[in-house]
Symmetry: C2
Subunit: 478 residues, 2 copies
């Protein structure tokens, strides 16, 4: 029973801290011991013991929060029979560092008890030799399942389903089902319903465990089963399935092929991971990070994860710079413009990021259809207009006091309002356009909107100043 | 059985689209009918019928994606017996608009069948009159539970737990438990375990339903129960509990007070909502939005949701502007500086946002302790240094070609590298400091880091240029 392994959650952080202290102590002792040719002592044993007391899911968490050298030390100390569970629990980036530290023999030992769907999760990071050897140790059914799982993408239902199916016929009594279940040693995790199939494995319905417990044992399965359950197909989008799990409060659900044949099962634990990862990825993508990063990844890896968007940003910043370059002459005439222009650009960027974050989030939740684009746009323009007038006036008055020029204040206020309107339009239209082009609206959206409001803000502000100066409305210093 | 109400998920978007088309049609017909004194026709009936076919959780979703007038029309058409479920499912912002459209009588009718924990969710948005009336209709136990639920914050376990407890003693046989369960009409949702208590309601363990099914009915509960389950306390942080649910793959878990007395129950559905909301709030907070916004909120509401951070941004932008103002004379001498300075600030902001997003995320997952601050700082500094040298050189060379001044190129490269280093330090230190001060590290972190890299970037770049010009290394145009 897994429950008995678990300790109360409150002391977890304390225990992590203790382990970190032990790690420091051990590292010191190790150095000392090596220098003086002494055997390793107390801290090693204590470390081992503390680790043995931890649930494997906690070890996975601990490994993620340790720098590489400590991480590998802990990994060596963890009992090998828990390797497999831990490998499946850690993030992709951390898993890679752990696998790199294992030889083929150890990897095969860790993976040999995995189910087909678990092996499929691990497969992309295994060498061909290891994968072949693992394949050959599987029976025909398991091998077929592995191949099926590998044939789907990670973001498809088929890539996330498992094969631990408990199924029954609909013409037996609940009593028979109860007797049948007692013959098992263990159930698949998250079994809240049993699948009801016919002799061709076509899904006829589901029998919720609670119906099995609530009803008279003499009733037939067909009399109490739900014959219209939520079902999924292997080629469906996994995130859509996760949203359905959340919406309908599901714990497990059947996956059927186009003929209605039961081929697998989805469970809430995979869906929770997916919901967290999806929102997380969205956040990272908006900030211009390519993927989830192991926080202790090597410097070089981190550089690669980040530089694509930095390069894009460099190009957009360069364009903004050229926009300013257009107005060299204007700035020379009134150098105060150089000091004020970043305010216009900055507020625009901030406001645009607020809008785009909200829109991207609402899109992920399917709250936005193209039908209501114009209403949204209208609302955002209204919000920007009010903010522009209010904050534009504030900063316009400040500019007037600082530089003693009412016309400069007016340029400030107008530019700010116009740039906020630009930010609102772009904040709505960028993600909408990206979705129409079949792209992820979160991807680099923050970098893109900032690019627009920078170049746009400089152009609007300096352009207005140029006009005011040309028409002699604004006095110049030069 | 809830399962029979649910339709396959794939057609949901289609059905939403159909309903939106019907809404447009109905709005047109209504106008026409009113003008010509005709009765309402087909589209109304069809709309009603389509809505009746939808699961209440889908209606909640639909309501969130409709503008206010359509939303209230749909709300009127929804059968009143589903009002309560829908109200509990929609987001806080949307719920407010729905409640505003109901009179006290309707609200009381919708809320009268709610459990104490559900009422507690609704309570903050109800008028005192309504709340009093609902309170008086409750029995003593329910009223005590409601008061208990209201005494905890939304982010505490006590604010999220429900009271649907199924409990048994440990000295009875599984057969007795099975017979006892059959006397119920319905189980609490998400019942994957039954709580085992003594006569003082002290929790002794849990009996997983699967143990009930797998084992010989003659065995005693005490023989098969798990006596060391994961437990929670009402005053614990709810997000920590959600992480424990995810880590240990829990479906339900007991909540006990300091004496070990069973007082409530947590279930995975609430935890999934919380995980999604928490990540979402983090994302919105980083962008400087105060709270989740109804995307069709009134303009005025949206303005209020956003302007606090805009005001902060205005102040920081003003500071950056004053930093530039310090170097008025330098810019006058070499106006190219005005065009180049936003590049340095912009790239710094982008890079800083990458770092801070990663750190904030890792903090939410408890992967970062103060113990590893310095290692992280070291890594981030390394990444920035490499990016600074590479991209700084690129832009330095571009600046050299554009303005024909190698010293300007050198200033560009150095300033970029230094600003990226600043961004790295601030990206690590800002969230660490906020946590040390007991604040949410996500809150406005993006605005803060941008402020640092803007002011810092301008100061570094213009300061270096000033030095180069003062020492006669850089030629001036003015």
């Amino acid at each position: 029973m897994i429950e008995t392994e678990i300790k109360p959650q409150e002391s977890l952080q304390d225990r992590f801290d203790q382990i970190q202290t032990l790690l420091r102590q051990y590292n010191k002792e190790k150095q000392h011991a090596e220098e003086n040719d002494l055997p390793l002592t107390a801290s090693y044993t204590e470390l081992q013991q503390k680790l043995d007391e931890l649930h494997w899911a906690d070890i996975a968490d601990l490994l993620e929060s340790l720098p590489l050298d400590d991480r590998l030390l802990v990994w060596q100390l963890v009992k090998s029979d828990r390797d497999g569970d831990i490998l499946l629990e850690v993030s992709d980036a951390v898993r890679e560092t752990l696998l790199a530290d294992m030889d083929d023999h150890e990897i095969i030992a860790a993976a040999k008890d995995m189910d087909a769907d678990e092996l499929a999760d691990l497969a992309p990071e295994l060498s061909n030799d290891v994968l072949q050897e693992l394949m050959s140790s599987l029976d025909t059914q398991q091998r077929e399942r592995l191949q099926s799982a590998l044939s789907y993408e990670e973001d498809q239902v088929g890539g996330l389903m498992d094969f631990e199916i408990l199924s029954i016929r609909d013409d037996v009594s609940l009593e028979t089902v109860l007797r049948y279940l007692r013959r098992f040693k263990e159930f698949p995790s998250h079994t809240d319903k049993i699948f009801v199939v016919n002799s061709e494995a076509i899904l006829k319905g589901v029998l919720p465990i609670k119906q099995l417990l609530l009803n008279d044992p003499d009733l037939l399965v067909a009399e109490v089963m739900a014959d219209d359950p939520v079902i999924f197909h292997p080629d469906e989008d996994a995130y859509g399935a996760a949203q359905a799990f959340e919406r309908y409060d599901l714990i497990s659900a059947p996956v059927v092929d186009n003929n209605g044949k039961l081929v697998g099962r989805l469970t809430i634990d995979e869906m929770v991971h997916l919901i967290r990862e999806e929102t997380e990825t969205e956040m990272l993508n908006m900030a211009g990070l390519r993927e989830e990063e192991d926080i202790f990844a090597s410097v070089w890896r981190s550089v690669r994860n980040r530089w694509a968007w930095l390069a894009v940003n460099l190009v957009t910043a360069f364009i903004a710079s050229r926009v300013i370059g257009l107005f060299d002459g204007t700035i020379e005439k009134l150098v105060a413009l150089a000091a004020l222009m970043p305010i216009v650009a900055g507020i625009g960027g901030n406001s645009g990021n607020q809008t785009i974050t909200m829109i991207v989030r609402a899109m992920a939740l399917d709250q936005i259809t193209t039908a209501n684009t114009f209403r949204l746009l209208g609302k955002e323009i209204g919000v920007s207009f009010i903010n522009g007038i209010i904050w534009g006036s504030v900063i316009g008055i400040v500019a007037y006091y600082l530089y003693g020029s009412w016309s400069l204040g007016l340029v400030m206020m107008s530019a700010m309002t116009l740039n906020l309107l630009l930010a609102a339009c772009m904040g709505v239209l960028i993600p909408m356009t990206m979705v129409k082009c079949g792209r992820d609206p979160a991807l680099g959206s923050s970098v893109l909107i900032t690019a627009m409001t920078d170049s746009g803000g400089f152009f609007i502000f300096l352009g207005l100043a140029y006009l005011f100066i040309s028409f002699g409305i604004m006095p110049v210093t030069g």
